[in-house]
Symmetry: C2
Subunit: 210 residues, 2 copies
């Protein structure tokens, strides 16, 4: 990669539960030290061992509401009785410093990010290779009743129906191959002219010297 | 890569002479058997050893003019007394078969391709790392007079001025690293939802089975 100053990007990975997204996110963070995981804001109390600013930013409901009303959140949602959101300021700080930020969010969060920051967003949807493989993964993972698994399959089908809202589609036949593909997407997107904010100066210097 | 049917893409590599484009094109063709080099049509006579349909398609001026007038050329140009162009039919055949086509053309040809086939086009501009390095490469390559080298430098500066018409910019510090970057662009572009024309059927089948 050249030394040209660039603006970081927001990489969204979405998928139905069981398609392997968490494994791929971890692999990407382990292999690429230019990528930070997005840290969410939540009103739920910290669990034992959770670290402020690392696992979550913990705030009360009043503070959450203030931030939401001031458009200080890039996206937000209510899950059961708790609120979750993505604070804008740390993401903006990372992007300005040329670092990329990884988001593990669903289609609803992605739609909000698209409204808030379309130019910085790179949307990747991960599909399971077959329905049978997805079912196998959901069963292996959760030692749950048939009903619970069936509910997850229905939810997965709903999530999958939103694949067309993403620019890139990775079919996860093999985690190692999919990780290579996601890294290629990241490499390519970093090479986009519009993200290489120092290019204009670089080319100016080049032409001056010719 | 998945087995989902996809439409091929047109990968354009442009750069000033001396930036290393030919080496990168050869490397890509050697490493990726899904990529074909675009074969141009020309009115100039074959040179010894040149093979019809491999080096060029050789035609007379009347035939060239007919094809141009019927919009059977994706782009065309006159160089000295000869005409050159890219026939549309073999490119379309390759794209329909899911093969990618590589174009080594300048900014003027790229502009014409953009008008003719914007959705299929992926435009990459290769920049030299420094003016001094470009000069060194032009001198090493051509055992020419200082005047000739100076002329090429001026032409390079003009070509570089069009970098902003390309989506991706690769600064060629090192040929091996640049080849990796170009391959990443190709991998990423193949994963674009819009190119995976079989996705809709694939997702339909997946959801039916869930």
């Amino acid at each position: 990669m050249s030394n040209i100053i660039r603006r970081g990007l927001m990489l969204v990975l979405s998928s139905p539960s069981g398609a392997g997204k968490t494994t791929l996110s971890r692999g990407l963070l382990a292999d690429d030290d230019g990528v930070d995981m997005s840290v969410s804001l939540t009103t739920r109390p910290p669990r034992p061992g959770e670290v402020e600013g690392q696992d979550y930013y913990f705030v009360d409901r009043q503070r959450f509401g203030e931030m939401r009303n001031r458009s200080e959140l890039l996206e937000h949602a209510k899950v059961f009785d708790n609120y979750y959101g993505t604070p804008r300021a740390p993401v903006e700080a990372a992007l300005s410093a040329g670092r990329d930020v990884l988001f593990d969010i669903d289609w609803q969060g992605t739609q909000q990010l698209q409204e808030a920051a379309a130019d910085d967003l790179v949307r990747v949807f991960i599909l399971p290779p077959t329905a049978a493989e997805l079912e196998r993964r959901l069963k292996t993972r959760a030692q749950d009743s048939a009903d619970v698994v069936a509910g997850r399959m229905a939810k997965a089908s709903d999530e999958i129906s939103h694949y067309a809202e993403y620019e890139y589609i990775v079919v996860n036949h093999d985690a190692a191959e999919s990780l290579v593909q996601i890294k290629a997407i990241l490499t390519a997107e970093r090479l986009k002219r519009a993200r290489q904010t120092g290019l204009s100066d670089f080319v100016h210097g080049l032409r001056e010297a010719l």
